[in-house]
Every structure is written in structure tokens, then in C-alpha cells.
């Protein structure tokens, strides 16, 4: 800065690099798990864990695009369901079908995201309602398509992404394909959100939509793109989860709230303007680690619900407190 006096910026000691508490949380949880079950510290242990969390992590990072732009996407869970059911309907046990089914599903996802975005941007329906409607509709569509029960298997080529491991890898011994997907898609989503002009416009739209329009941001296009990204990642998450778990009728249900939860634990601001892809992925890891830990502790299901609720509130309360104190 040029020769002007700065206002009294407080002494540098108070401006420690601020580390997002979610990272601390993840590390603490994982250490706790390893203490309780040393097998977790071995490659099979943590690789299985990462494999398990991949679908949610990718999904949350995609959902973050919508959250940062100032909306919600409640339809992601139903998109996952539709992906799995639709794929099983189309596959008709033909291993080669995967190569056109996944692109087709991505296409369907893009159309769904586009519709969400158009409804929110041009019909001005609040995203909570628009995507709630989409969720109900898509669940119905999935049911209609399959007549209520899926009518085909997912071929192994389809399940490759969610299920298979590369074995005999040096040092880590096994490397699930899902973990590779997590790294690749996580990096792409990180790049889009934090390293491009699009990412900055996304933040701006979520922060102040009217100002964004007057500053020349193509607001509608940006918001629609956010919904498309979210829907596309939901398809990917569906492919991975379907790969891991096989076909079932309501495979995606509940994922929409988990994705929002992961983003929020990662410090994203609901209603837009702030959010980080790595922190959201860490939020998903934290969420899954909590479940695993409670599992290890052998706590009854109801107790797990209570703990989950407390952690959810506690994490957000703590983040708010920290943000206020640190002036962020």
C-alpha cells in the first residue's frame, strides 16, 4: 500500500493463521477411532473409510456450489436414487451398457439441474421449495420408471467406481477406485470454486444478488450453473454409491440433508457468500467419522442420533463463535 497510514491494525500476534476448526475435528475424530481400533490405522482400515465417505464427500462439495450461490438443493438425494434405479433399468445386465449409461445419466442430471436453476432464477421460486418439489417428483419418477422395484442389476463395469480396489499398491497396499474419484472430482470442484472467475461470481451472487447483477455478473447463468454442478455431482455420487451398495429403492434418501450438514460443518454460510470445498469434504469426513466412532463405541442407534444432533449444533455454534471472535 502506498504512503498512507493504515488504521490501527492490531498487532500481528493476534492474527494467527486461522485454521478452520473442521480440520481439527476430523483429525481428532480419526485419532480417536485409531485409538479405539488400531486396525483403522492400517491401509485397509482407512481406505475402507475413505471409500465409504466418497459419495457423500463429492455430493457435499457439489451441493456447496448451490449453498455458496445462496440456495439449497434438496433434490440431490433423489437424483442419486434416480441414477441408481435408472441405470439398473437400462443396463439389462449388459456390461457394455455402462459406457453409455453413465454419460446418459449425467445428461439427465444436467437437465434436472437446469430445470432447478430455471425455476429458481426465472420463476423465482425459493430454492428450498423448488428443489423440495423436484425431490418429490424425482422420487415419483424413479418409482414410476421401475414400477416400484428396480428391474435390473447394475453390471460390474458400473459398480467398478464404487466397489473395486486396486491391490498391491506400494505403501498403501490397496487403493479403492472410489478414493481416486474422490481426489479427482474433489480437485475439479476445488478448482472451479476457488480458482476460477466462475467461483468468484458464485460467491458474489450468494453475497448480494442485486449488486451482482449491476456489477455485470450474469446472475441467472451463474445460479443455474450452480444447480447443474450440484446435480452432476449427485449423479456421480449416485454412480459411486450404487457401485458400492448395489440397487435399492431409496438409496439416496437423506443424503440431501447430510450434504448440507457436511457443508455447514465445513463452515459454509447458509444463504450464500462463503464456503470452501476442502472444508466441506472435511465436513463429510467428520460426519462419517462420527458415525464410525459411535459404531465402535457400540452406542445404541438412539444415542447416536442424540450425539449427531449435539455435534451438529455444537460445530456450528463453535464456528460462529470463532468467526465472531476472529473477526472473519
Amino acid at each position: 500500500m502506498s504512503a498512507q497510514s493504515l488504521p490501527q491494525a492490531t498487532s500481528p500476534t493476534r492474527r494467527l493463521p486461522r485454521i478452520n476448526p473442521v480440520y481439527v475435528l476430523v483429525v481428532a475424530l480419526i485419532l480417536a477411532i485409531i485409538v479405539m481400533n488400531p486396525a483403522f490405522g492400517e491401509p485397509t482400515g482407512y481406505m475402507n473409510f475413505l471409500k465409504r465417505v466418497t459419495a457423500l464427500a463429492i455430493l457435499s462439495a457439489g451441493a456447496l456450489y448451490v449453498i455458496v450461490s445462496g440456495g439449497f438443493d434438496l433434490s440431490v438425494g433423489s437424483i442419486m436414487t434416480l441414477t441408481v434405479i435408472g441405470s439398473s433399468m437400462l443396463a439389462s445386465n449388459d456390461p457394455n451398457s455402462t459406457y453409455w449409461i453413465i454419460p446418459l445419466m449425467l445428461g439427465i442430471g444436467a437437465v434436472i439441474g437446469l430445470i432447478n436453476g430455471l425455476v429458481v432464477s426465472y420463476l423465482k421460486v425459493p430454492s428450498l421449495i423448488a428443489t423440495l418439489g423436484m425431490m418429490i417428483t424425482l422420487n415419483g419418477v424413479a418409482f414410476m420408471w421401475s414400477g416400484g422395484a428396480p428391474r435390473g442389476y447394475l453390471p460390474d463395469t458400473f459398480r467398478f467406481f464404487g466397489r473395486y480396489n486396486i491391490t498391491d499398491v506400494p505403501i498403501i497396499s490397496l487403493l479403492p477406485i472410489a478414493v481416486i474419484c474422490l481426489v479427482v472430482f474433489g480437485a475439479i470442484l476445488w478448482w472451479g470454486m476457488h480458482r476460477t472467475n466462475f467461483g468468484r461470481m458464485l460467491h458474489a451472487v450468494g453475497d448480494n444478488q442485486q449488486a451482482a447483477r449491476l456489477a455485470g455478473v450474469p446472475v441467472e447463468r451463474v445460479r443455474i450453473s450452480a444447480f447443474v454442478v450440484s446435480a452432476l455431482t449427485a449423479v456421480l455420487a449416485g454412480v459411486i454409491l450404487g457401485g458400492r451398495a448395489g440397487v435399492s429403492v431409496d438409496i439416496g434418501s437423506g443424503f440431501e440433508l447430510q450434504a448440507i450438514t457436511a457443508a455447514v460443518i465445513g463452515g459454509a454460510q447458509l444463504l450464500g457468500g462463503r464456503g470452501s470445498v476442502p472444508a466441506t469434504i472435511a465436513g463429510a469426513l467428520a460426519l462419517e467419522a462420527i458415525f464410525t466412532l459411535l459404531n465402535l463405541l457400540g452406542l445404541a442407534q438412539p444415542v447416536r442420533l442424540v450425539v449427531q444432533g449435539l455435534i451438529l449444533i455444537g460445530a456450528v455454534a463453535f464456528a460462529t463463535y470463532q468467526r465472531k471472535r476472529a473477526g472473519r
Partner: protein, 503 residues
Amino acid sequence: MSDAPTIEMRGISKSFPAVKALRGVSFTCSRGEVHALCGENGAGKSTLIKILSGVYRPDGGDVLIDGQEQHFKHPQEALLAGISVIYQEFSLLPERTVAQNLFLGREPMKNGLIDNKAMVAETQRVLGLFGVRHRIEPETLVADLDVASQQMVEIAKAISLNAKVIVMDEPTAALNEAECEVLFSLVDQLRASGTAIVYITHRMREVTRLANRVTVIKDGEVTASFDHVPAPDVIVRAMVGRDISEYYPEPATPSEIGPVVLSVSGGANAALSDINLELRSGEIVGFAGLQGAGRTPLAMALFGAAPFTSGSMTLDGKAVHLTSPRDAIRAGIGMLPGDRKAQALFLMQSVRDNGMLTARSFANPFGGHKANRFTDLTGMNALLDQMKVRAPSYEQEMRFLSGGNQQKAIVARWLALRPKILIFIEPTRGIDVDAKASIYHLMRDLARAGTAVMMVSSDLPEILGASDRIVVMREGRIAGEFSRSATEAELMLAATGETGVAA
């Protein structure tokens, strides 16, 4: 009544996470006086007021009301103690009526229920004091009012409390001359009736016109305190720590004024009719008029935000039809909106991201955010330095900057794009003298570099001082054109369409 001043603030300190806003500030105000509080943007004026009114709690120091020490924990307690504040940022509820806003939190009750009738009647009475009874109806929604009327409601709300202290934080920022006059006479009446008034403004004329005493804050400390009203340059020196030479830059010489960049003929829409207009490169055109005269709609029409529905518009001689801000920006038009918080600021983003946004919007969306064909991070830093934006760091979030510094930061947004035409709407609203001067010089520099500048302002001295040519609007039409040698009276006459109007 004791001799103690109505309000006394002693040794007030206040820190925000990133900045020490106040350090040991003392301030008093007694009944029957107007005490002007001056200081640059970010000096800490609003913060001091918010401590007085219980919005913030001080880190150190005492607040005394009528000699009694007070520790307000909620604005309500300050209100009950007789302190009424017109805040710098609007504090109205757009979806409620004028009457409901006026009586917010203290609705008249009858049998335990809200007495709507009494509320409307009382509202009408209070609005009558301002002579705006015909313009503002008690049961209109505030959202349907223009900015000036909203500010009137804000003022009426504070005054109708019959408080013993009224604090006005830049009350005239959104008002035109005539409305300012109404306010000034009200302030006179209030002073006469024994109210203590704290008055914050960046306009020296208002200090001279109204104040009994003046206190200047700089960087969170009192730098000067006068029991009289000194000459403006004395105040300015205390504020900025130096003299400001050449407040208004030199006007353009005829040779500097270039060809017509933009012309409109027969432009009209719901708010405008029969607009014929030319803007030339190198020229600053000031747009004057009363509230509701259509200056903002005209700016919005040129900027494509609320396009003309008939008529034609040419840019560099070519016909254009702009239907969105993006169209306009692409065609080389930029605009700084009047309502900064609602229309221009991204409070959660960094100062630099605020500055870079427009450039990024027109670059490849998948291109890196650090550099684009318009500017890069270093370039933006240079622009922000040039604007003298005061921030601990340009990575700081915008919401921690004072109003004036926010305005300067968003000017940088447009500079990066080097537009052919730049529209400023109330560019110096809420900006301190130093910054004002730099904005005038900046506009002039832009003009010299060939930009056509359109400046919408309600500040007549500014219109006269900074423009090369002046357009006056009335009722959605252009009511007259003047050179910079016109007088305020001539402009007012054209603006009101009446004779014998006091300037």
C-alpha cells in the same frame, strides 16, 4: 435541571477484531445545542454513536446521561433514556407501512391491542411537520417509497420520539437541497425547544449552518474540539491532518471535449418521457433535480437495468438496444449505484474481490481468478491504492470497512474496465472531504482520458463545482441544460418549475 451536560462520554474505547475504532474519545452535548461531529471515513463517528445508543458496548470509558452513569445493553434502554438516533444505514422495514415503521416497537395501545387509528393519525401529524404529508401516506409500504422519502420517514421516526437527545448520522445524504432546508429548520426548532443534537456530516456547509460546537475525530481519537464553529478549512485540516488544495479540479477545456459518445432521442419508459440527450467524451455532465425527477431511472435506462421502451439510442454513432447491465457494460458503460449496501457491495468478500468482480464477470468464467484480460491482482492493488482505500489489508472482508472506504473500493471496480461512459449516482454520498476531492479529481482524470462521465447528484455545489455541463430533470423529462456558470437558484427553478423558490 442539573448543570451536567445531557450526554457526556468519557474516555470511550472500542476495538473490533481487525481494528481499534475508538481510543479514549470524550464527547459532550448539552440541551439546546447542536454539536457537530466531523471526521474522515472510518474515523469512528458512527461507532461512537452506536455506543451511545446501546448498539455496541464500549471496551472502556463511561457514558453519562444527565450526569447519571449508564450502561446500555440494548438500544431499547437508550431509547428509554431519551436518546433517539437516525442511523447512517437505513433502519426501516420495507414490508411494513410508514405508520408501522414510525411507531416500531412503541405502537400506541388500547385495551392491550395496537391502536391503528391513533397510529395513523399521529403519523399524519408528524409527517405534516416536514411538509411531506401529501407525498407520504401513513399506510403506504416503505418499500414503495423512494430513497429520499424513506430518509424523511427515518427522520420523522427519530423526531417523533420527543427524545432529549437526537443523534443524526449523515441525515442529509439522500436529501436534496429543498428537503435539507426542511430538515435544517426542524433542527432549529428542536434546538430552540431544548433538545440536545449530535449532528454528523461530511458537508461543511451544514456544519456552518447548524452547529454550535464542533468536535473532530481522526483515527479513533479526538484531534480538535471547538466551542464555536471555525472556518471550514480549519475543520478539514483537523480531519485530514493537512490542507486540501484544489477541492474541485479544473473544468475541461473546449479542446478536451471530444465527439458525441452516446445519444438518446425520444427515449421513454414508465418513469421517463421524451429524453433527448448527448454525452461527449471528455465531458462531465451533472444531472440535477428533485427526488423522483427521474435521474436514477434515466441512469438505469442508459445502463440497461430498466431499459427505454421507446426511442432510440446510439453509442459511437451506432444504434444500440441495451436490455441488461451486461449489455451496457459490454458496450462500454459503467455505473456506480446510489444505494451502496443494497446495490454495490459484497460484504462477505474481500476488498480486492469486490474490485475485481466486474472484470471477472467479462472474462472467461473458467479462467483463473487472479488475472484476466482487464486486470490482475497487482493491478487491482494499484487501483485501490490510487483510490486511497483504507483497509488493514485488501484481503479484509468488505463489511469491516467504513462507508466511505467501501465507496472508493467499488469505484476501482469500474476503473479496471476503462469504460467509455461512467455513470456515478450520488458518488460522494457519505464520503469525507478528502475522499470527495479525490473522487472529483478522479472523475476529471477519467474525462481527460476520454471517458464521458455522467454524474447524478443531489448536492448542488457539487453539481456546479464538478460538472462541465448540467442537465436538470423534472417529472421524468429533461427540464433544461446549463453551463457550469449557472447559479443554484437557476437550477432550482428549472428543477421545480416554479418561480421564487429559495435555493
